[in-house]
Symmetry: C2
Subunit: 218 residues, 2 copies
């Protein structure tokens, strides 16, 4: 399995999460920041390897084999991100790019021992669940902050946008995983929100609140 094939598998896996339809050639090309013709080629290759089933105009669906491999790469990605933050003093906005490289290292023992070394972590530094050895991914009941109502309250358990820009912005606001967040006010005009983060009051835009996951407590 080449690096490129693994990246396409991951992309298709992610796109598949958002819908129950097949993933279109164009969607894959856009996600991978490449051209439709390149996506067509890769779909053909992955299809030949029985990693996905493709029907023209109906899109691609990963086979069990394809899904398993994609999840394994995601598992590695998230374990490495955890290692970087927990042991190498990386901040959560710095880990993604390096993990994009590390996720392709091929060694069963390595990943097994890394998992053990980290103490079998359940979530990565962005709150995303780390798939287990068998490819199972835990789901937490979480809501987008933007959807909470006035006086709703909960714990910040994740982010939808893991870009460095957004994570740095959250750092500036002192918002991090585990924080208690309470909705003080919702502004109908621009959907901005006034919230209280572990006691501190602040206002965030609609764009920001759409990218924060909350596990409701009230």
């Amino acid at each position: 399995m080449t690096l490129s094939e693994e990246n396409y598998l991951k992309a298709i896996f992610n796109l598949q999460q958002e819908t129950d339809k097949g993933v279109s050639t164009n969607a894959i090309a856009e996600f991978m920041d490449t051209k439709a013709s390149s996506a067509t080629d890769m779909i053909k290759r992955l299809s030949e390897k029985k990693l996905l089933i493709y029907k023209p105009y109906q899109g691609a669906r990963l086979t069990d084999k394809g899904r398993m491999h994609a999840v394994k790469v995601i598992r590695k990605h998230r374990l490495w991100e955890t290692f970087l933050v927990e042991n190498l003093e990386f901040s959560w906005d710095e880990v993604h790019e390096v993990a994009e490289q590390l996720e392709h290292i091929d060694s069963d023992k390595l990943i097994k021992q890394l998992d053990k070394f980290l103490g079998y972590p359940k979530n990565d530094p962005h709150g995303d669940p780390i798939p287990d050895e068998n490819g199972n991914i835990a789901t937490i009941e979480k809501k987008i902050l933007a959807e909470l109502q006035k006086n709703d309250e909960g714990i910040c358990v994740g982010v939808d946008d893991s870009s460095s820009a957004f994570l740095k912005y959250l750092d500036k606001l002192n918002i991090s995983l585990g924080n208690n967040i309470k909705v003080i006010e919702k502004e109908a005009f621009d959907n901005s929100m006034s919230i209280e983060v572990d006691g501190n009051k602040l206002t965030i835009s609609s764009l920001a609140s759409k990218n924060i996951y909350i596990k409701k407590t009230k």
Copy 2:
């Protein structure tokens, strides 16, 4: 810098250590387990990138830039091997292949932090010196065990052959880095050696004794 280019640089650096002449196309091809025509192509590419200077029939020599890059890859390789043994329960015969992959991960912060995490180790699990950030490689005065005389004594500080087969053989004999080794007898007939390893007497072949490095104490 591609993975392949880095591997060629490493090969040329290693081959250069053994001689003061340039490294020939054929030597590179053999070391890389590839064909001379492939080596020619790569020499051309590396030469265009000013990583080496090549004169036909006189061989290749790394430039400062090329040497620096090769050493950086070796530094990463040895730091990762150290990590695998120290923290992930790998044995010294299992680390090389994984390190061959990890050495190509590109992140200055990663390698800096890994070094710090490991406590700035001086040597890797095979006794090889870990180059510092500036590309300096420490040299220890060491001798090949085969060259020691009767009653000579010293510490095992490294191995020349890092193959899994040889390392496993050493494990079986209970020879590891740091052991005190004393020459009891040298057999002229086949150059086998009777030695005492931390008290235990055993006999090893010429081939084995040629691949063990000793820092003499007596």
